[in-house]
């Protein structure tokens, strides 16, 4: 490699008017929000919600989460996926933890389909916050995909005792389907973070 990678730096505490301005009430159009799902009418509409916890178990109110996911047919809206996404589904969402009670984050999206390469359905999560010098990168898997999860080559790389940190728990209630996915930065329940 001829050049060195530009080092990562923390997103800091004041990202909101740059990355999530409308969510936080700033007068600037935001690139993406927490609602990914409307463009894919075929998909099962779901909500993913949770909290981010620091090493003391306190909720983090200045984190920003990004989702990257395939559509309901398992296709990515990106040139490297020759199938593309013909639903208009972009697959990207972004939200901060600073506007809902108790520092919850919430995404409204569709459940992604399996890509077709043997992996269980999953969503990539990129996480930034003050005090995080490099973004954290993890995945959301789904609790109602137990058989697919058991066969997933990525989960197989994770210690069995830690796999549950990657599995969003499905709840069905009158408001719809909600998957709970908390992220623990540290501690006994520390979420598995990936590199690739």
């Amino acid at each position: 490699m001829a050049l060195k990678q530009t080092p990562s730096q923390t997103v800091g505490p004041y990202f909101s008017y740059g990355l999530t301005p409308e969510q936080y009430g700033y007068d600037y159009k935001q690139l993406a929000d927490n609602n990914l799902g409307e463009a894919d009418g075929n998909g099962q509409r779901i909500t993913i919600r949770g909290q981010v916890f620091d090493g003391n178990g306190a909720t983090v109110r200045d984190a920003v989460l990004e989702l990257w996911q395939a559509d309901s047919q398992g296709r990515y809206a990106h040139p490297e996926d020759p199938r593309g996404s013909n639903t208009g589904f972009k697959g990207f969402g972004r939200t901060g933890t600073g506007t809902l009670p108790e520092n919850y984050y919430e995404f409204h999206t569709i459940k992604p389909g399996a890509i077709g390469d043997g992996q269980a359905p999953h969503i990539t999560v990129v996480l930034f916050m003050r005090g995080l010098l490099n973004h954290a990168y993890t995945r959301i898997y789904f609790s109602d995909e137990a058989a697919a999860n058991d066969a997933d080559p990525g989960l197989a790389l994770v210690d069995a005792a830690r796999r549950n940190t990657l599995i969003a728990q499905r709840q069905e209630n009158p408001a719809g389907i909600i998957y709970q996915f908390d992220i623990h930065m540290q501690g006994e329940q520390e979420t598995v973070f990936f590199d690739a």
């Binding site: 050049l3 008017y17 600037y28 005090g131």
Partner: protein
């Protein structure tokens, strides 16, 4: 599902550690367990696609974007540079998002209670996209230094926050650009958290070529994203 290429790994000789105790927010927030290395599947080799259509006509000019009938206070500057991968290949059509405090060192963010004035003509957020040659350029005000609570009399050096996507989710980068000759860099635990040999990569260079006479100084800040690694299939 092999795509016939992979990205080279995150270069941990260049990036900061997960926990850098001098920066006091890190000990409770940085992951403590080793990262699990995933193979690069279609989920990693793809990523959000944003190009020129995501950028408004004034998004690259922070001195005009949020102006309310006047000019923002401070020193107008041009910030420009090349976005490339590690192999020196320019990265065209890459979205950059930037945010910064105003000339007085005050962020518009409601959490920032620093006793310095808000500038009614400056918000401090903007976006631009690299051109066909991988170059970007925006116009802004030189950000001020500001105090923060990390330790007694702690001050952040002048800096601009950058966020880039690059061609895949693996090339995602959030970083900060600093200014040459800033004596606060030696004292800043966030900057000092970067391995010494790579710190200079975050410091822009004054560029007379980018400057415009009688109007604004130019600073060059080149950004290097993860690039494709050679794979057996390619060789």
């Amino acid at each position: 599902m092999s795509k016939g290429f992979v990205f080279s790994p995150r270069d941990w000789d260049s990036h900061p550690p997960q926990i850098h105790p001098g920066y006091k927010s890190t000990p409770l927030r940085g992951p403590t367990k080793p990262l699990v290395v995933l193979p690069q599947t279609l989920s990693e080799l793809t990523g959000p696609v944003y190009g020129q259509d995501a950028v408004g006509p004034l998004d690259h000019d922070l001195t005009k974007l949020a102006a309310k009938g006047g000019e923002p206070n401070g020193e107008r500057i041009i910030v420009a540079g090349l976005v490339s991968d590690e192999n020196g290949r320019p990265a065209p059509n890459i979205l950059l998002e930037v945010w910064q405090p105003n000339a007085a060192g005050r962020y518009i963010h409601t959490d920032d209670q620093h006793d310095a004035p808000i500038d009614p003509n400056f918000m401090g957020a903007g976006r631009c996209v690299t051109d066909a040659d991988g170059r970007y350029r925006f116009i802004t005000i030189k950000p001020g230094a500001y105090p923060w609570g990390n330790h007694y009399n702690a001050w952040r050096p002048n800096h601009i926050h950058f966020s880039l996507f690059g061609p895949s989710i693996l090339t995602r980068l959030v970083t900060q650009m600093y200014f040459p000759g800033d004596p606060l860099l030696e004292l800043d635990p966030i900057f000092q958290g970067v391995p010494a040999a790579s710190r200079h990569l975050l410091v822009s260079k004054l560029s007379i070529e980018l400057s415009e006479a009688e109007w604004a100084l130019g600073y060059e800040f080149n950004i290097v994203l993860r690039g494709r690694a050679a794979t057996p299939m390619e060789s």
